[in-house]
């Protein structure tokens, strides 16, 4: 392995990642980074492999190093550090306001933390999304998309999701697995 080139390490690592052989991929990427320590793409992929291997602390350190908000947030969630994840979700959403999964993840976590008003407001704030969850948003809707919520948020342009839309998406899984 000592004689392997960057090209071999990268190609083999990418192939292993594609096949879900994360331990091997992580080894290749680590060796690659010994040769080229500034390759942020490889750092991201190494972090991804470490995450898949359950080595969350190490994964997080790579994601933080390259400033990847989304991956940092999702790793913190997996570590149970929910409150710590919120600023990263917020930053990720600011970076990608039009991306449905980004907003969905953020709303899901806010809902899980029972910060219902914030969850609804984040949901409302961007472009119209596909109805995003079966149980999570359904519960959120039932408990808080109410006159009470609207009274507390006067002036907000409320376009609450329709219950029928929510129910039609029952099969859609929730990315965070929080609910």
């Amino acid at each position: 392995m000592e004689e392997e080139t960057k090209e071999q390490l990268l190609t083999f690592g990418n192939g292993c990642l594609d096949q879900g052989v994360y331990e091997e991929a992580a080894t290749c990427y680590s060796r690659y980074l010994e040769i080229d320590p500034d390759d942020s793409g490889v750092m991201q992929d190494l972090g991804y492999c470490l995450f898949q291997l359950g080595r969350y602390d190490e994964a997080l350190s790579w994601f933080l190093k390259i400033g990847h908000n989304r991956n940092s947030a999702l790793t913190l969630v997996r570590m149970g550090r929910y409150e710590d994840a919120l600023p990263f979700f917020e930053a990720d959403l600011a970076e990608h306001p039009g991306r449905y999964p980004v907003r969905f993840n953020y709303v899901s976590l806010l809902w899980y933390l029972r910060r219902f008003d914030e969850a609804l407001l984040v949901y409302q704030a961007g472009p119209r999304l596909p109805p995003m969850t079966y149980m999570g948003l359904g519960t959120l809707y039932r408990s808080h998309a109410s006159e009470d919520f609207q009274k507390r948020n006067k002036g907000a342009d409320l376009k609450l999701p329709k219950m029928t839309d929510i129910l039609s998406y029952r099969k859609e899984r929730i990315s965070l697995g929080l609910v």
Partner: protein, 118 residues
């Protein structure tokens, strides 16, 4: 990452895709070996590759993802390069005419490619 492989008595064909670590170009590389090639060209093997320059990769990734190829981004994101490899494999993998197919696709999508062989 292997896109296509076929082996028969007179010909072995393999096509793979990878990212060049220095240039960051996307390279789809084919290698034909065997008696069939010998009879056809006089050499025992034929190597050929399509290069999609680094600056064109974003267009290709966007185009393929718009059509639903490659990884979904619900969970953690891998790098754009790995996303592109995944999308290329999903769209063109298993096709014995993969080199022509990707050239055609890129031409139709306004993406620059370069073809080389020897």
């Amino acid at each position: 990452m292997l896109l296509f492989y076929e082996r028969r008595p007179d010909l072995s064909v393999s096509v793979s895709v990878y990212i060049h670590p220095e240039t960051r170009d996307l390279i789809i590389e084919g290698h034909d070996v065997g008696e069939f090639v010998q009879n056809f060209s006089g050499d025992s093997d034929y190597e050929y590759w399509v290069v999609i320059p680094a600056q064109e990769k974003g267009k290709l990734l966007e185009s393929l993802q718009e059509k639903g190829f490659g990884r979904r981004d619900w969970q953690l994101w891998v790098s754009d390069d790995v996303r592109l490899l995944s999308a290329v494999k999903a769209r063109f993998g298993g096709n014995n005419d993969v080199i022509s197919e990707i050239q055609r696709y890129c031409a139709e999508s306004g993406i620059v490619t370069k073809f080389h062989s020897y």
